[in-house]
Symmetry: C2
Subunit: 176 residues, 2 copies
């Protein structure tokens, strides 16, 4: 299973692609940060993120997309941008028929470190170790996107099957 | 100028299309509410909104899109959905090269009633009057989308020219 993890943001949108399956070694496919300038208007910025994510999907053909679930507990302006950038990633995946899962930051941290409150250094260290990299992934702040992708490899399979089952039931229901 | 106004929301996304120009009579082209079910997953909902907005743009070919600017002062869950749905509308417009403007709810209310704190009934009454409709527009809660479109007809032209000028300056700057 190839998973694209997206740590959404307007100014910096982390993207990490990982190959893996539960119980098997993980492999880093690609990691990057999509950037847009705060000097641009919101339409240009969202289009830039969409173009970047579309290009990644076309080049690396992930089987699933994991996006960080946003909470509004932080800075209000940041959260709005995060929600907007996340929506772009979610709909880009949906347009291609790819399953989309949302995982919270704590779920991603817990998946790679065992601790939902782990700090950035610990997450980066474990991502480096789990992907058997010789050095920490660069750019450094895309480690969260890789943690999301790894989280999804390990939890996502079950979630996707549940969701597929739920859709099947719903469709059967609406036909009857 | 034909303007598509979007009052974004996941469960109910108001859309209103108005023809007009500053100092000329306004004309209602189309009004509707795009709905998605809270029982669906977020990817399905955002894709539903995108499909609906794309269809409107294809059918009615607006010259500009006005989207309500979201603030995080209300219910946190609602605001996240509003930000996500708004992002879908913004990027759909940007993909077509249409200018996008954001107006606050107060700006839209002030444009049609003269009072930025006008209540829903007053906004609906003025939208009905300004568009010279025989009855209040239906569905009723798309009146906000029409108010946004009208607001944009009256203020948007100047904004769009400013933005175009700003881009031109920026591009000249980056070439030098």
């Amino acid at each position: 299973m190839r998973v694209l993890g997206v740590d959404p943001g307007l100014t910096r949108c982390g993207v990490g692609i990982v190959d893996g399956a539960p119980g098997k070694p993980l492999r880093l496919v690609h990691v990057a940060v999509l950037r847009t300038s705060p000097d641009e208007d919101i339409a240009t910025r969202l289009l830039g993120i969409e173009t970047g994510i579309e290009a990644l999907m076309a080049e690396f053909t992930p089987d699933a997309v994991a996006v960080e679930r946003v909470f509004a507990q932080h800075n209000v302006r940041t959260v709005m941008g995060t929600a907007q950038a996340g929506a772009i990633a979610i709909v880009a995946a949906a347009r291609r028929g790819l399953p989309v899962a949302l995982h919270t930051p704590s779920e991603a941290k817990a998946a790679v470190t065992g601790n939902g409150r782990a700090d950035k250094a610990q997450v980066t260290m474990m991502v480096t170790r789990l992907l058997r990299l010789e050095a920490a992934p660069k750019p450094a702040d895309a480690a969260d996107a890789l943690a999301l992708a790894i989280c999804h490899v390990w939890r996502g399979g079950a979630q996707a099957r549940l969701e597929a089952a739920r859709r099947a039931v719903r469709q059967t229901g609406s036909r009857s």
